[in-house]
């Protein structure tokens, strides 16, 4: 048995869904749209009942994907029962949807939800009378206390058993009735198969309403579709000129009049105002001055708890991931002196790639829980209310606020949850604009590169450079979003802002946690599988074709040199027999095992225990690694120098491997273009490796500017290797990073939320072109004008600021055909 939950937003539908299904839930997406499909199950009289939580909608037109999804479910999936969940305090407005459901001949049960709250406000509803007037079953429920749940379950079973006897009154559309009857008979005569799958009356009303989907549906079944469509349009025009009212408005109006009549006759009004404390909160939260202050405070707290504190939590969770890595190290085939088996290299690369992502889980969990808290409390619409004016000037939406905050409006966010949160934006054009610009904000993973470059090239102006990079991304995002809106997105449908401001609710711990877990799980499932797949590809790109055989022979020779010099060094010691070239790896492993164990043990008794264990394992090697006696000291020194040579060899090999890899070739072949931006092939490789994950840029640079034994910081290494680099190079690179295409996980999020690979490719493509364009303009322009990096920085800043102001003044108001 399958049942559906339909209802308007803020009617407590989710609470009812949770109360019915408990933990037996599943979230998926409807095919082709970005609407979430929530399914749950419960057992009733030994039968398994599937519950589909339809998206919350005010009505069932074909204007939004949510409404279409809900409508298609009711019409095509033939649910045994549709529970119409409504806010008992708003009976009149909610009946609007009920009439539509009854017109679709859905087997409706009305759940007058949140009845306790309504009664507290002095509203009392005669459910018997209401049921009689509507011709359907009505149950008063309150899912916070569980009131009415059993009765509702019984009513559902009874209705399902009576199969299809939905009842329900038909609505009288007054002056429109003769027209509706004409249409009905026309549809019946001209498209005789259609009424078997769709209620005739509903088709007629929707045709009169001018519902584009239904017109297309009937026309496609009609022998002469153009004529039929034209006839319907003519009927609508005639109606309007005769009654001075658009047909759809007449229909809606009749529904409200009927709802008003029914509500009046079975409900005592109470004090029809919302709870006064909700008003009192709004007096502060939406206040001219206090509102923005509260908003900033909420955003700050969100950052602080998720990014700052979440990062602290990763200090505790990282060891778990590190442990998994060390298990892998043991499991995978061991490393030779310079021969790293490909299985080992790949296995560790793979684990590192996945771990880098899993490491964010605590941050995401806190973030998702806080968002759920904000959503359930009712603060979100207030946020949109305050920010809409500013954002709408740039083609964004009031509800773009939260996604932008998550993406890193200042410094430190993550594009993945940012893009995911765009789902809530009801206006398609603004939603796409927001999705496309969020990757340009300063996510956490971009920050290491900024810090590196600022420390090298803007060391004397650190604070100013940091301020520049923190604020420049917003100054780029706003005008870019406006330009996208005026060009690529110009034709995308836009919706009115009209938004309900529901009373505040106290969120439940369970509701918040369920949602947080749900979203983290969805994230893990969707993102990690794709990141895993790409880790394989990037591995291949960075490894093959790799080092040639001659060069490999050269490295083998170097290896033999290092080993034989070590053997020579210990020739005259007591340990000459203990180590020979064949078991040298055993010694190296023993030594590194000892070092790791001592590092993990700290001091005191634990350290003693480690010493004891390694002494037992091999007393001779133990003497070397602990430098005992004169011979021990000599052997230890020899081992140190051997280790250094090995590290140097491995580093050289890795460097050469990248140099001779597909990625290295790409980096070099891009040089003719990127040199106008000031990037050489090394920078190109670092940037290319960052395509998959931004963190990689600094890691790859670290590998490219190989460290020697002095253990210099990457800042020093990069500065000494790239002597030709100036602060202008640094600025160009930083701005490139700001505008750099979304990382892999973010690109996938874009694909999911924008609903197509096309948008993902566009998002990657446009930001790539933009990033390169800006970097070239800054570097080549700055060089031509003879500007220093710092001067170029502020010239660029003032240009961006001017562009932001100018773009904000360009008018782009949607035309809703106000007459």
């Amino acid at each position: 048995m399958k049942i559906g939950l339909a209802g308007q937003p803020n009617s407590g539908k989710s609470t009812l869904f949770n109360a019915f299904t408990g933990a037996r839930q599943h979230v998926a997406n409807y095919p082709g749209v970005t609407v979430e499909k929530k399914i749950g199950w419960y057992a009733s009289n030994g039968e398994n009942v599937e519950v589909v939580d339809l998206p919350g909608t005010y009505s069932l037109t074909s204007y939004s994907p949510e409404e279409q999804v809900a409508r298609d479910f009711i019409l095509r999936e033939d649910p045994s029962v549709v529970i119409n969940v409504m806010d008992a305090s708003n009976l009149k407005r909610c009946l609007f949807l009920t009439f539509e459901l009854m017109e679709m001949q859905a087997p409706v049960v009305l759940a007058l939800n949140m009845i306790d709250l309504a009664e507290k406000r002095g509203i009392s509803i005669d459910t018997q009378k209401l049921s009689g007037l509507l011709g359907i079953s009505v149950v008063a429920t309150d899912m916070k206390t569980g009131r009415g749940k059993e009765e509702l379950l019984d009513t559902i079973s009874a209705l399902a058993d009576s199969s299809g006897a939905s009842g329900g009154i038909g609505l009288d559309y007054g002056e429109m009735e003769p027209l509706l009857r004409d249409i009905e008979s026309r549809v019946l005569a001209e498209t005789p198969h259609l009424p078997a799958s769709y209620p005739l009356r509903w088709l007629a009303v929707k045709l009169m309403e001018g519902d584009s989907e239904v017109i297309r549906l009937v026309a496609s079944a009609h022998p002469s579709p153009e004529d039929f469509t034209a006839d319907i349009e003519q009927l609508r025009v005639d109606f309007e000129s005769r009654f001075d009212e658009m047909p759809e408005i007449h229909i809606a109006n009749r529904r409200y009049q009927e709802a008003d009549r029914i509500a009046r006759s079975c409900m005592s009004p109470g004090q029809a105002r919302r709870l006064s404390w909700s008003d009192r909160i709004d007096k502060v939260v939406c206040h001219r001055l206090m509102g923005p202050v509260v908003l900033v405070a909420v955003i700050w707290l969100l950052y602080y708890l998720s990014i700052v504190q979440g990062y602290n939590v990763t200090n505790y969770t990282w060891p778990i991931l590190a442990q998994i890595r060390s298990w892998m190290e043991v499991l995978l085939p061991g490393a030779g002196f310079i021969e790293i088996p490909i299985m080992r290299a790949f296995g560790l690369w793979f684990v590192d790639s996945i771990n880098a992502l899993l490491n964010y889980i605590p941050i995401f969990f806190i973030l998702f829980a806080l968002i759920a808290l904000l959503e359930d409390s009712g603060y979100m619409p207030r946020m949109a209310f305050i920010m809409d004016r500013l954002f709408s000037r740039y083609g964004l939406h009031g509800q773009s606020t939260l996604p932008m905050v998550l993406g890193g409006i200042y410094v430190g966010g993550c594009a993945v949850p940012g893009v995911m949160a765009c789902k809530a934006i009801p206006d398609e054009r603004s939603r796409l604009a927001t999705i496309l610009v969020i990757p340009l904000l300063n996510c956490l993973a971009k920050v290491p590169l900024y810090v590196l470059l600022i420390n090298i090239y803007f060391a004397s102006h650190k604070v100013w450079a940091m301020f520049f990079i923190s604020t420049i991304s917003l100054l780029l995002v706003l005008p870019i979003s406006k330009i996208l809106t005026l060009t690529v997105l110009k034709k995308r449908p836009t919706s009115p802002f009209v938004m309900e401001m529901p009373p505040y609710h106290v969120p439940t711990v369970r509701g918040v946690l369920t949602r947080a877990v749900e979203r983290v799980w969805l994230f893990v499932r969707k993102i990690t599988t794709i990141v895993a797949a790409v880790a394989v590809v990037v591995f291949i790109l960075m490894r093959f074709p790799g080092i040639s055989e001659e060069r490999m022979a050269h490295y083998q020779e170097e290896k033999h040199k290092a080993v034989s010099s070590f053997i020579q060094d210990i020739e005259d010691t007591d340990y000459a027999d203990a180590i020979d070239p064949d078991n040298i790896m055993a010694f190296i492993r023993y030594w590194s095992g000892y070092k790791n164990a001592r590092l993990g043990a700290g001091g005191g008794d634990a350290a003693k225990a480690v010493n004891e264990k390694f002494r037992e394992k091999d007393p001779e090697l133990y003497e070397i690694v602990t430098r005992q006696g004169k011979d021990g000291m000599i052997a230890y020194r020899a081992a140190r120098s051997l280790e250094r040579s090995r590290k140097q060899l491995l580093m050289d090999m890795k460097n050469e491997q990248i140099h001779n890899s597909f990625l290295g070739w790409a980096g070099k072949s891009l040089e003719p273009v990127t040199r106008y931006a000031g990037f050489n092939w090394r920078v190109n490789v670092a940037l290319l490796s960052a395509l998959a994950a931004k963190e990689s840029s600094v890691a790859t640079l670290g590998a490219l500017y190989e460290s020697d034994e002095r253990g210099e910081s990457l800042e020093k290494r990069m500065a000494s290797k790239e002597t030709g680099f100036t602060p202008l190079h640094g600025l160009s690179l930083m701005l490139f990073m700001v505008l750099y295409p979304p990382c892999l996980a973010a690109a996938i999020a874009v694909k999911i939320q924008a609903g197509g690979t096309r948008w993902m490719l566009f998002s990657i493509g446009y930001s790539m072109v933009l990033a390169l364009g800006v970097a070239v303009a800054v570097f080549s322009g700055g060089s031509a004008l003879g500007l220093s990096g710092f001067q170029a920085m502020w010239l660029f800043y003032s240009l961006a600021l001017t562009l932001t102001v100018v773009m904000g003044l360009v008018r782009n108001r949607p035309d809703f055909g106000v007459v």
Binding site: R93, F385, F497, V498, M499
Partner: protein, 74 residues
């Protein structure tokens, strides 16, 4: 006069919806229909959008959209 011309605290009755586009439907769906009493609660900190009360519940809309709602002052 139209709804966008009302100031916070003002009240009026909805006369007519003057949008030929989805805006009219959206307003209807959200419960704005002729005959309803409507009261302006406040404007947003940057003036736009505005918040109004209708029949016990609250919606916010941009002034641009409020232009489509014809109002009669009482």
């Amino acid at each position: 006069m139209t709804l966008d011309q009302l100031k916070p605290g003002d009240e009026g009755y909805v006369q007519k919806l003057r949008s030929r586009d989805r805006l009219g439907r959206r307003l209807m769906d959200m419960g704005v229909y002729p005959g309803l009493r409507i009261r302006v609660i406040r404007n947003a900190p940057l003036e736009d959008p505005m918040e109004v009360e209708l029949d016990g519940y609250y919606i916010s809309l941009r002034h641009e959209e409020a232009r489509a709602v014809e109002i009669a002052r009482k």
